[in-house]
């Protein structure tokens, strides 16, 4: 099978239609049974800023953004200058030759837009037609996509766009098939991490979702709001994140499966209530979709910088689980697993995603609705009669729940003040060191059970290797690609992708690390937050940190040299990657 990746970059100013054009192309490829990975590099500004999208297409699954293009679709002149340096060997530039010339040494398909279409807005369609010709994506699929996008418009508009696409294809005739992709009659789904979290939550029986808009978590809210009425999910945009989480806790107390998602700033506002959920033993899933911090940070850029924020959320010691899904597919399953954990242990389960994972689109062949069943944990009335004690001391720390509306005998008050088994307070006037100690221990006993139900971390590649890479959450993508690259080059590299953040699978992680010949951490932050956690939990100090904190994710070509350095024993304790030349430059 031809597993070559074709990298198509679509670049222009914000408002030029970069996103819609890239999504259309991605959809066409996915419908041809190809795998697609889109990474959007955009600014917060709705119009005017500079934007580009990478559309990576291949017969095999793709897991990272890349550093180089095969086809550059330049929606404006500026983007030619910006990206000309990152061309692969056979690269082809598609551009409007009314406005620009192809730079020397670049193969260009210059199309005089003013000649081929009457309306300059159709430029993008012309270019897509040309890109289809270069990659061998069938024009019929393109026609279908046009019909969908312009479904509500007049026949005239549709015809004009079809004609434009054909014009574009015609202009690329001389190079047709240069990047030929193996089209099949399969069709993949195209989905983002945020959509997978929302879809997974719906499959996991979420009935209450509240949020306050915050990039890059808003995609979950948008999906939820869009599907709320049909699915019977109550979706609330509350006045702030404090209200968001407290509403979700109220809904959960009343019996609804509840979830919230936000980014670091909103999560900071939520933290007092994370402890409230733990104290009142009210299940809740709260997701932090990280952006680059601190403070407002870089709202539209990615980072894995909130690990310690999530670990330290809320005052006091309390039982919780922290899970960082490894990829888009994992988001779908891990959110269901988290909902079950929350219910089974009556705890807050915190999930960590990030901009990269949450907002990029990728193809999946399938999602399995049958893999995880809803488990709502223990409820009163299911374990015999007797006086109901909501916070009954049990060996596992979990006490059967009740909810308002259940018969009189179950009436109780859940309190943020610490309490006895019955729920009556042991703070304020009536302190009680004995009961306080017992209740702390009851709650914390849950951690033993939770530990056994944490999802296993993933070892990528062979068990034996000369170098073991370590990453977490969304970092799984670059780890997978680095291991594959090493294999291609005959090097023995494997990787450990950590998704169980808390409780930490210390034994398993230590087992891998102490046996490894060489270890390098790959993390999208400044301090190597996961490396610190690993040291804390295993005593193992990872000798080399490969870090990136310029707002961009790891790209394969610029990360691979670090792995080579480590293999040669030449890596420093701290290796910092800056996004490849030009990408970080902003002339504006």
């Amino acid at each position: 099978m031809n597993s070559k990746i074709v990298d198509i970059w679509i670049a222009g100013a914000a408002g030029d239609g970069v996103q819609s054009t890239s999504e259309m192309l991605a959809k066409i490829a996915a419908r041809c049974g190809l795998h697609v990975y889109i990474y959007n590099s955009y600014q917060s500004a709705i119009r005017g800023g500079y934007v580009y999208a990478q559309i990576r297409i291949s017969a095999k699954k793709i897991r990272t953004p890349s550093d180089r293009w095969d086809i550059l679709v330049a929606l404006n002149t500026d983007s030619i200058e910006r990206h000309k340096g990152w061309v692969k060997k056979e690269g082809v530039l598609i551009f409007n030759c009314d406005r620009a010339k192809a730079p020397g040494g670049l193969t260009g398909i210059g199309i005089p837009i003013s000649e081929v279409v009457s309306n300059p807005l159709m430029q993008n369609t012309v270019f897509l037609g040309a890109a289809c010709a270069l990659t061998g994506l069938p024009l019929e699929k393109f026609e279908k996509a046009i019909l969908e996008v312009f479904g509500k418009k007049s026949q005239e508009v549709k015809d004009a766009n079809l004609k434009a696409a054909k014009e574009g294809a015609g202009r690329a005739k001389s190079l047709a098939g240069r990047f030929k992709l193996p089209v099949s009659d399969k069709s993949h789904i195209l989905i983002t991490g945020n959509q997978a979290l929302a879809f997974g939550a719906a499959e996991g029986g979420v009935r209450f979702y509240s949020a306050y808009p915050m990039t890059p978590a808003s995609g979950v809210l948008h999906w939820m709001a869009d599907h709320a009425a049909k699915l019977g999910i109550c979706v609330m945009q509350a006045e702030d994140e404090i209200s968001v989480i407290n509403m979700a806790i109220g809904a959960s107390f009343a019996g609804a499966r509840s979830m919230v998602a936000t980014s670091g700033g909103g999560f900071a506002l939520m933290t007092e209530a994370v402890g409230l959920a733990a104290m009142t033993e009210t299940p809740l899933v709260a997701i932090n979709v990280c952006r680059a911090g601190p403070s407002t940070g870089v709202p539209t850029k990615t980072e894995q910088g909130d690990l310690w924020q999530v670990l330290g959320a809320g005052q006091g010691d309390y039982p919780k689980a922290v899970i960082a899904p490894l990829d888009v597919e994992d988001c779908f399953y891990m959110v269901q697993h988290s909902l079950n954990l929350a219910d089974r242990y009556q705890i807050p389960v915190l999930m960590i995603s990030d901009l990269l994972l949450s907002e990029h689109n990728e193809t999946l062949e399938a999602l399995d609705p049958k893999r995880i069943k809803i488990d709502r944990g223990e409820w009163a009335g299911t374990n015999g009669a007797g006086q109901f004690l909501r916070y009954l001391y049990t060996p596992g720390g979990v006490s059967p729940r009740a909810k308002p509306g259940m018969p009189d005998q179950y009436i109780f008050t859940a309190a943020s003040d610490d309490h006895r088994e019955s729920g009556t307070l042991i703070s304020d006037v009536d302190t009680d060191p004995v009961e306080r100690k017992k209740m702390m221990e009851k709650r914390m006993r849950k951690m033993e059970g939770i530990l056994k139900e944490m999802p296993p971390n993933v070892l990528i590649g062979e068990p034996k290797a000369d170098l073991t890479l370590v990453g977490w959450g969304s970092g799984c993508g670059i780890l997978t690609e680095l291991v594959a690259r090493a294999k291609e080059e005959g090097k023995k590299v494997n990787a450990l992708a950590i998704r169980s953040v808390w409780p930490f699978l210390s034994k398993e992680v230590a087992g891998v690390l102490t046996k490894a010949k060489g270890v390098m951490m790959i993390e999208n932050n400044f301090t190597g937050q996961m490396a610190k956690l690993i040291r804390q939990e295993t005593g193992f100090e990872i000798p080399h940190l490969c870090l990136k904190y310029d707002g961009e994710p790891f790209y394969l070509e610029s990360t691979w040299p670090m792995v080579q350095k480590a293999l040669k024993g030449k890596a420093q304790a701290r290796e910092v990657i800056l996004t490849p030349y030009g990408l970080a430059e902003d002339k504006g």
Partner: protein, 294 residues
């Protein structure tokens, strides 16, 4: 159909005795609420009291209904979640002036405009009781506390005027010195469809030596005896702004507006244990959602 039992005040009696200072105004609010629930024949299992933190916010622990004693200032969001998840429940929010008009005032304002069907009882003692006597957002100008030894400089919030302006559909005031009147007002508030505020003068006998039972007894008048029309917005606002020698009690403002009921959950929210082993989505729905992504 459940058998018809008569609900008595005793049904709401909690085994936990209130730990409020003797004569604290909050005792009267507790009994006023119990009287109102009894009058309306609401079953204890169908009532939920939700509070924040403060002396007043301890109330849910002293009444036999389901209860949620949440964080300082967060009672309204919690109650909103409870009500949305199960609209069949009667949800009564209780708390103090610091809890509701200070740290939680943002939620208060949004609950007003949202008009969610909650009853909000604020035990307004114009001081922070639990934290031993600091200035509150309803403390009067010049009022001396530990934290304002030279006297309070800030204009107090007028909760009734704020509520009327903020879109409340039921605004009333009661006084712990007149428990029967209070019970009547609370009953009307619970019956009201939409967000109902009852601001209650509930003296803190320990930390507020100015706004005492005596202070209010001398000043209060009942709106219903003064020919007030609670359907008249202008009159309502005028009465809400009255302070000084004459301070009105009763229902200031009452109107009808669409109640926030985004959640259509109750009809298909099964007993939670029955969900276990199931899937959130049926095959057809799942496949349709998947098809959207193709």
């Amino acid at each position: 159909m459940a058998e018809l039992t008569v609900i008595k005040e005793l049904n709401f009696k909690s085994e936990t005795k209130p730990d409020w200072c003797p004569s604290c105004g909050d005792f009267a609010v507790l009994s006023g609420l119990i009287k109102a629930l009894t009058k309306l024949q609401i079953e204890p299992k169908d009532a939920v009291t939700v509070s924040g933190i403060g002396c007043s916010s301890n109330l849910p622990g002293f009444i036999r209904t389901y209860g949620y004693h949440s964080l300082h200032g967060r009672s309204i969001p919690v109650a909103t979640g409870v009500k949305l998840a199960n609209p069949n429940l009667k949800v009564v929010v209780t708390g103090g002036d610091g809890d509701g008009y200070g740290i939680g005032v943002g939620h208060f304002i949004h609950a007003l405009r949202r008009n969610i069907d909650l009853t909000y009882l604020v035990m307004n003692n114009q001081v922070y009781g639990l934290t031993t006597g600091q200035v509150s957002p309803t403390s009067e100008i010049g009022y001396q506390t530990k934290t304002t030894p030279q006297g309070n400089l800030e204009q107090p919030i007028n909760p009734l005027a704020l509520a009327i302006a903020g879109g409340a559909t039921f605004v009333a005031r009661a006084f712990s010195g007149d428990p029967n009147h209070m019970a009547e007002v609370i009953a009307q508030a619970i019956e009201h469809k939409g967000f109902a505020l009852v601001d209650i003068f509930s003296p803190c006998v320990t930390f507020n030596k100015v706004n005492t039972y005596e202070f209010f007894r001398k000043r209060v008048l009942k709106l219903e005896e003064a020919g007030h029309d609670p359907a008249n917005l202008q009159q309502a606002m005028e009465k809400a702004l009255m302070w000084g020698d004459k301070i009105p009690l009763g229902v200031f403002w009452r109107t009808e507006r669409a109640v926030f009921d985004q959640a259509k959950l109750s009809k298909d929210l099964p007993y939670p244990a029955d969900w276990s082993g199931q899937h959130g989505l049926d095959d057809k729905t799942f496949n349709n959602l998947l098809a959207e992504l193709r």
